[in-house]
Assembly symmetry: C4
Homo-oligomer: 499 residues x 4
């Protein structure tokens, strides 16, 4: 490949002759303009120029290489011709930098909510909208959290709890916590190192990371960052073109991935209105992470990056998956006892009771609520826990006490997605490590206070889940009466000052 | 009829000699002053002048023609004598124009709530009060919405949902949505084209409109605006004078209306306090759309326009209706299994489970809640769904997911009134079309996520309606305790700035 | 009695020689100072002066006459010696006058809440505190209201409701409404005419007033203001000295009172903290309405005026009451089926299910809730309704729909206290009449919409009271999660203005 | 011991030669620096200086004497060498002094909430954080209060309640109230006299105080302040070194303590985030009240002072306790029927149903809720109440009515901790006495209104506890709908002024 000056590249800046620079390489994207899932407009903005900065956060590094025919790989930019651009920080960016500098010190972070509070402030608006959004009225995302608060503890006392142990084994892999890192997409929107923050922190703390199909970092980048023998799982969106999926799965198995979590609750990605309001696609910043995408405009990041997902995926596909891999297969997104039994009978190794963090079907019930009925159904197939079949739960987890509730009700382990995502958005790898330490502290304390020395000692009678199925709606407020009722107040200070 | 100068008309401006101009015609209303449902005062304000602008929004075009004896039709105004009045916009009107100009673009409207948010701001206060108000404490109107949020989904996974289809047939008419446009009155209060916005949008999208008895546009105007073969239903308030009703119904059938929805929950229109507070009638702007009205003052638009409604309407009238029309007859406003069975046994073709959008009996239960008991009762008459009998639901619908819940519980289709009304108040016909598109997108997504490819595949086990009958009331707030309890906060930024 | 100059009176202004003027008469109260229930301090403030203005609102007119021995009635003030005092309005009083002038016109009052909203503003702080307060945390007062909102209607349709009739008979007396005016104390705190506002309005509208023992107007004043034959009831606090009670009851019967409501839920008046915070007694304005009071300081009006009430009153006293009067005897304040049956078996004519407007035992259940169990219990004594035994309900009633719910569940009639009290505080007698008209309008409408033409047609199946016993408490708010969750918003106007 | 000048002491201000002055005595703490539970930093701040003021509030007076070997007791400071330091009040301290001066007068305090409202304002931030904090999301602390509000009264009428008596016997000791003072730690943080405020007030009112292991005042100080024969209980945290515990318990018994309450719900103290956010330990103000503490940094006061507590305490230890003392043994912190029966069968004299004021395992149920199941379980061992076994309840008590509910459900007596703590923080001993008087007034009134003359007459049928087990979670708020719904308002005053 030839070496080109930036001036030479700049002369190809027309719709019918369009070159761009990414990571120091020059590409002819003229014929690709109409195929770009994010639309041609955003590419044309960089016609004849360096597009790396816009490309970076939402494409895996090899996306352009893999997608453009080799003859469109024009050459390499001559570094001597690159004019150092004194980057002008936008006002927005300056504001963010100031906020970052002003973050609470990591010492002051004492629970997982704190990470979210910091991330909410320091993230770019688009990243916050993409990460925090859920579908329709965002009722399920909140219900996920609320469900845990409807389960109450029945702690046992006077057991010798000098030593408590919350380590476990997940799909045959050791884990220091009964928690794995659930997949969340597009990590670079929130931090330049993206998902690698999780990989590195997980290695140090013996926690298992589930790699997302829609990671900002490429699969191999993540695997390369992992320690030898570090257990990893893979989350899979199944492609309309099964050959791509097959290649992807078999590559993962070859690189040592220990479990395949096939997402079954997303034949189409949900309408996430916070994300849609950001008009991400209108800005042209559409993302492309796999082939065969057909993008609708104006539907936010989620839709832009997900058009390759196959809505025809069905039970009949399961045998095929079993034929292409020996990894344990877990169906992620099961919500009913009916489907749990179908999964069991289909011979997969487990299910995740999940509603996709509230991002898919709104007013779906929480995984925790479904857990009770599903464990009851699975007991019709044999004693529980069943070593051949794992049941995971995710959604709304913020405290070790949440995890303990799920385990007491029969879950194998629990996934946390946003909790760790916000940790690295706010503090990078150190944030994730702090999150693990916080959970560890909480596990130690809560297991002592519950009277359970090991996870095996967590039993259903340690929780009162009788209110879990209660979804009441209050009589709407009596506004007239409320407006005339004068609330009681306590004694007032002598100067009547508001305190 | 003679041609008159405006000066000539102006000389008849006394209580005992009062002419007015409406739509370029001159009428002698001296003898009618005392009969005017909105009172004489408002007419006298225009004595000897052009009253068109005040008349327009709340009367059907032919109201004055039909109600005044022919000898009172004096003649036509000579256009050359009309002084062009440079209309002085009121401050209020200027403010509204600015708000309209400032509306979000239609692209930014992504759900049905958005239309309401815009309409609330851009509508004249009186129109907003009339449309948005409900009876007494407005508890039922809010309960209608809340009821949907008490039903939760039980989605099925791994079904091939490549193709999903939400079209249906309503009373034998094809509809692109399992939704019809429910009748709402006085459309011109909110938009100059009134109900025609709905008619035109419905034609383009194959949706069925129910024409209200109290439309601002006349029945024939609406029919004339419809496309050939466009299916339309008619909502009927039964007149104390049955001959008027008979004429109206038979005219409708002749013009091709496909279903007759007789309102049975409004022997008298409800006390709608928001509307009453606007003192609509005091301003003299009483409306008259049918004969035989006897209006009480100070009771808002609703009462002013509804005095013709017959409170003696009863089950004994049903055979008569069956004798005057072959249209399917639907009773709109049934709320109990007892009445549902009476309707079935009376041989009508269906019922609408409705509380009139919360505008009649406050603290009535929602149609959705009643649906469960009523479907159960109707099953005692044969298998459900029953091709001879339709059950519709309306009230509080804002999302396709709401509709899917009602269908899963046994409803035939669902009516939306205010949702489409606010759409045209905010954006005219285009707003209504956008509303259809939004619903379409929501149906596509939610059916995929539910695992239902057609409406037939929606089954009761896809929803958890166990909380639907729950109407709890919280223990009143413990104000003293709440005032001394200090809520937790997350970590603070270093400068302590409120973020 | 002699005629005295004000100068002569003024010379008796010492603790051991203390005269005061009330209503133009001179009294020697030297020996009474230590017996005054409100303390001597407040009297000494007026030693040698005219005390009428302070005396007036909280004593019945004849209190001083009845309580002082005849020899202490010194004489009459010579009017020519009275110096006209130009009364200086306090700032507070000026503010109130301005507010009164600024009241909404009576036309704008469209529900009973409106009266309360006006009264809250125009009443002196002490009067508002006394009237509006309830005991402890004021939970029961609000529960009274909330209970009605937990009962939902099941309206019937297609009944001929041309004519509806909500008149009834209460303890053999005709009433235009199924509602009576329940007793509330100290009416002159809120309006110079006190309880007479109710008497006069009741006469015009054929409503029955229950006269309170603790009225500001004397019993005879009220009877004198009544029309011949106007039915009245009497509320009775039983005195420690039964001879006083006997005299009072027999006098009432002689003057034609038609029912005796003995309060049984107030052996001691409740701690009403809003009232206590007003430090009414500290100001010296203690009230005395009956003899034998022993007042504790610092406990608000309620305690000051109630010390004569006998806490030893018990079931054994009932035969004695039956021996001294032939009026129907009703026990006011029954809360349990156990006591309802005791009352029935004791031969009284009825009970009021009441918690004293939330002013006695806080966190008591509402009368409406108790109604269900109590009617069920009374059915064990014979068919219901039982012509020999009435069950009334009071507490929290603001709408005719509330009344209809109670009647549907088996109540004979319903008492409204504060609703009418606030009406006259805000607008005098006209306010009370307007309140009757509002209720009448609401009865007409709601009975039509319910499908009940007469009160007899109100049946238990017209209400869904399944939630009435539900007293849930929410899981306390998850403050950290709530502080980081960002609520959805609708589309924004282009200028981003807050609307 | 020699007499030393302050100058002489000042010369020992190095890390390797560090003397400090406490209460006028000089100590060589060089070797102790690394053992200090609060860290060396805080001591070094006072190297060569007087540390009394920092030492005082969080150490019992004899802590330094008991912990330092005798040879490190250097001598006494020569008072003549002490330079009177004109103490500079900090701004914070000045603000607090002004607030204290401005407190409501004690007359205005009419309920227990008032004390908390005052304490919240006048306490130093650290003290408020330590006292008010609870674990994790502070859900249980609020649930404790809310649980009482879910129990409703069923009052009986027409019983002769002239005389009511709420005195009782607790573990054989007379008490004027069915309430004891529950242990709370570190009283001097809130008032210079610390726990002695309680001791002295308890003596005057015949109330029983439970002395906390973690008192600011030493055990003997408290006993010395007690009146002869004044009954006291002791709360015990069991030390890892049982010999210390044995000595402590036997000393207590010798000094006449009447009951031993062994805390069993705190093998480790909870994570109290309000407290943690105060970074108490970082300031170096770590506390040491017993030996063998190993303190983690950054975990607030609670962790700093509690490391000596033995997490291995278990049922097997109970016989040992029975062997070292004849005091009644009560297990404080039992939460399940299972453990209640174990306690009964282990031969102890009672249990406290407590969750440690919400400070240990968050989302534990309230003691009141557990009471129902536990009394039911204990009835399987014999009739209830059982003279051999007491069941106490604490947590969230603010009103006598709360106490009456617990007693009606079977509790022996009720503990109040924070209520009395806040009383002395705000008003010293007088505050506590006022709190007793308030409770007395409330008991008198509520027992009369309930129809119970003695505590024995409190029966389960006097309360409706059917909602106690209800822990519902609302459907999350429908934010979009709520933002467009316009609440009703009452009539407006003519000038439209906000009132």
């Amino acid at each position: 490949m030839s070496m080109l000056s930036t001036t030479a590249v700049a002369s190809h800046s027309a719709r019918n002759d369009c070159w761009i620079i990414v990571h120091g390489k020059v590409y002819d994207v003229t014929d690709f303009l109409d195929e770009h899932p994010g639309g041609s407009k955003i590419i044309l903005k960089y016609a004849g120029k360096d597009a790396t900065e816009a490309y970076e956060p939402i494409h895996p590094p090899n996306a352009i290489i893999d997608n453009l025919p080799l003859e469109k790989h024009i050459g390499t930019v001559d570094p001597s011709t690159v004019v150092k651009v004194v980057k002008q920080l936008t006002e927005e960016e300056k504001r963010r930098q100031a906020l970052l500098a002003n973050r609470p010190s990591l010492d002051e972070i004492i629970n997982l909510h704190d990470f979210e509070a910091v991330a909410k402030v320091v993230l770019p608006d688009k990243a916050w909208a993409y990460y925090s959004s859920a579908s329709d009225d965002e009722i399920t995302i909140r219900e996920n959290r609320a469900a845990f608060q409807r389960v109450w503890f029945r702690p046992r006392v006077l057991r010798d709890v000098s030593v408590v142990d919350w380590s476990t084994t997940i799909l045959g892999q050791k884990s220091s916590l009964p928690v794995y890192i659930s997949a969340t997409a597009l990590g670079k929107l929130g931090h330049p190192d993206g998902e690698l923050n999780l990989t590195r922190a997980a290695a140090k703390h013996n926690v298992i990371q589930m790699i997302p199909t829609l990671a900002s970092c490429s699969f191999d980048e993540i695997l390369d960052a992992a320690q030898p023998g570090q257990p990893l799982f893979l989350q899979l969106y199944v492609n309309r073109d099964r050959s791509i999926t097959k290649k992807y799965v078999q590559h993962a198995e070859k690189r040592g991935v220990k479990g395949l979590f096939i997402t079954v609750d997303a034949p189409q990605l949900g309408r996430r209105e916070k994300d849609m309001r950001m008009k991400f696609v209108d800005d042209g910043a559409g993302a492309k992470v796999q082939e065969n995408m057909k993008v609708k405009k104006d539907e936010g990041v989620a839709r832009a990056i997900s058009s390759f997902i196959d809505p025809s995926l069905c039970w009949d596909d399961i045998p095929w998956f079993r034929s292409i891999t020996k990894m344990p297969i877990i169906l992620k997104g099961v919500a009913t006892p009916e489907d749990a039994l179908l999964a069991y009978d289909a011979g997969v190794q487990g299910i995740v009771l999940s509603n996709h963090g509230g991002r898919q079907l709104d007013t779906s019930r929480s995984g925790l609520e479904n857990l009770i009925d599903i464990v009851a159904a699975l007991k019709t197939r044999g004693p529980w826990p069943n070593p051949k079949f794992s049941v995971f739960v995710d959604g709304g987890v913020r405290r070790a006490s949440d995890v303990l509730k799920a385990l007491a009700l029969g879950a194998t382990a629990v996934g946390i997605g946003r909790g760790f995502l916000y940790a690295f958005c706010a503090y990078g790898q150190e944030g994730v490590e702090k999150a693990f330490r916080i959970l560890g502290d909480e596990f130690e304390m809560n297991m002592r206070l519950l009277g359970a020395r090991t996870l095996k000692e967590l039993t259903p009678d340690m929780v009162d889940a009788s209110a879990l199925h209660s979804h009441v709606g209050l009589t709407p407020n009596d506004n007239l009466y409320s407006s005339v009722y004068q609330p009681l107040r306590t004694a007032q200070f002598k100067d009547g000052a508001k305190l």
